[in-house]
Symmetry: C2
Subunit: 259 residues, 2 copies
């Protein structure tokens, strides 16, 4: 019995089903879900019914599949507006993008993972799906490491322990000791790098956003490809990045954003 999933009654089970549907990444038939569901047939069926009635799932009569419903997007929009750093940070990020001409990401830490809450693209070249709500592991992304480095010890422990370390690329750090070393360095410099650790060809420079009480409330990064910049080249963005992160931190404090 891990601390991970506390079952939490009916609501817990229902949300578990939602996660299942989400995992499939495509509309799913009842049987598809059934094989993954820990519950017997009748129970799974009724949970799906309930969620569909509640518009958390949508049922497609045509092919008998379930997919995630519109109510989720409405709620998430509300979440984004009221509970994320994004609305507060937007104006500053816009300035930064205009300034450096690169794509900027804003992330927060959520359940030990990186949760992207905003993304502004330079002008706008090709790509990309709305990054908002996307998650990534903390230990191998610039924003993730920037936040880990400034996390309070207990929260850090928690985030580090509950993580499975997967080697996404040859450069991914999967060794806890090395990771801790790097976090220490980041704590000193206030800057984190992603050296193709999550995706080959993608590098980034990131800075934590700290509220006035010193707690990490997010992180900011400039991400680019190795074809556009070298790792050293990223240092040009160091100053504006830090400056913007600081401004956002000050503003967030002013708005009493939860630490």
């Amino acid at each position: 019995m891990t601390a991970a999933t506390k079952s939490d009654g009916t609501v817990g089970k229902a949300l578990e089903m939602l996660d299942l549907v989400a995992e499939f990444g495509r509309p799913v038939r009842f049987t598809d879900i059934l094989v993954k569901s820990p519950h017997p047939k009748a129970t799974s069926y009724r949970l799906l019914q309930t969620l569909t009635n509640q518009h958390m799932l949508e049922f497609n009569d045509g092919n008998g599949t379930y997919s995630l419903g519109g109510r989720l997007m409405r709620l998430a929009h509300a979440a984004w507006k009221t509970a994320s750093l994004a609305p507060i940070a937007r104006p500053f990020i816009e300035t930064l993008v205009a300034d450096v001409g690169e794509t900027v990401h804003l992330a927060q830490i959520d359940q030990g993972q990186v949760l992207f809450v905003d993304k502004l693209q330079a002008t706008d070249r090709f790509e990309t799906l709305a990054q908002v709500g996307k998650i990534a592991p903390a230990y191998c992304t610039g924003v993730g490491k920037a936040m880990l480095a400034f996390l309070a010890p207990k929260r850090l422990q928690l985030a580090m322990l509950q993580q499975a370390y997967f080697k996404y690329t040859p450069a991914t750090i999967t060794d806890v000791a090395s990771l801790e070393d790097e976090l220490e360095q980041i704590q000193v410099s206030g800057i984190a790098y992603d050296r193709e650790e999550h995706e080959e060809g993608i590098i980034s420079i990131a800075a934590p956003v700290l509220s006035s009480n010193g707690r990490v409330i997010g992180a900011l990064s400039i991400a680019t490809s190795t074809t556009r910049h070298t790792l050293e080249g990223l240092d040009a963005f160091r100053a504006p990045l830090l400056e913007t992160a600081e401004k956002i931190g000050a503003e967030a404090t002013h708005w009493q954003f939860p630490a």
Copy 2:
């Protein structure tokens, strides 16, 4: 037994609480929720606890408030990727934006309302919060009317009836008969206009996205301000808009997107 709100057990109650928190539009204290909650103190309290355990809500120790949680954004991202028209439509919309140099919205109809699922801005700046997940009434927006006009009669009835008609601006049509007239015209022309009916100073031209079987699966609009274009000026976008809507419809059919 109204069709409106079927309570649907514990899960329904929990989601009702989520909606409550969302409505406040700010972090809320337990007592704030209590006055709006239909449930007694202990029940409301436990529902919030459950949702917090499940990361659907987040509790801020600092000031004792609840706000919508990260899990919602994760799920919504999955919903956006798998259950919305947006990923399919993206490339076409990008082309359209590049073509006309205006901001383009993509919307779907959800529970009789307009649900924005994507927004691409013309190159430029100012404004705006991630529109994804934002909702608006159908009867007074371009995209909304475009979809209503092509909705199957029964679904239209439903959407029209369950709507409260609020006069957002002097131009808002709140009279069902006039609205029906306009929908007929839209059916013929395949183009809908928003003549400052939802927001003063904002006009738009919209076209429905139809799947091959003739069902509306979404709508596309070009929105602008009265200071940039006149209503007649919008007609310049008519052809590219229709063309793009058609391409998206064809592609969606190909992907068996639910009608």
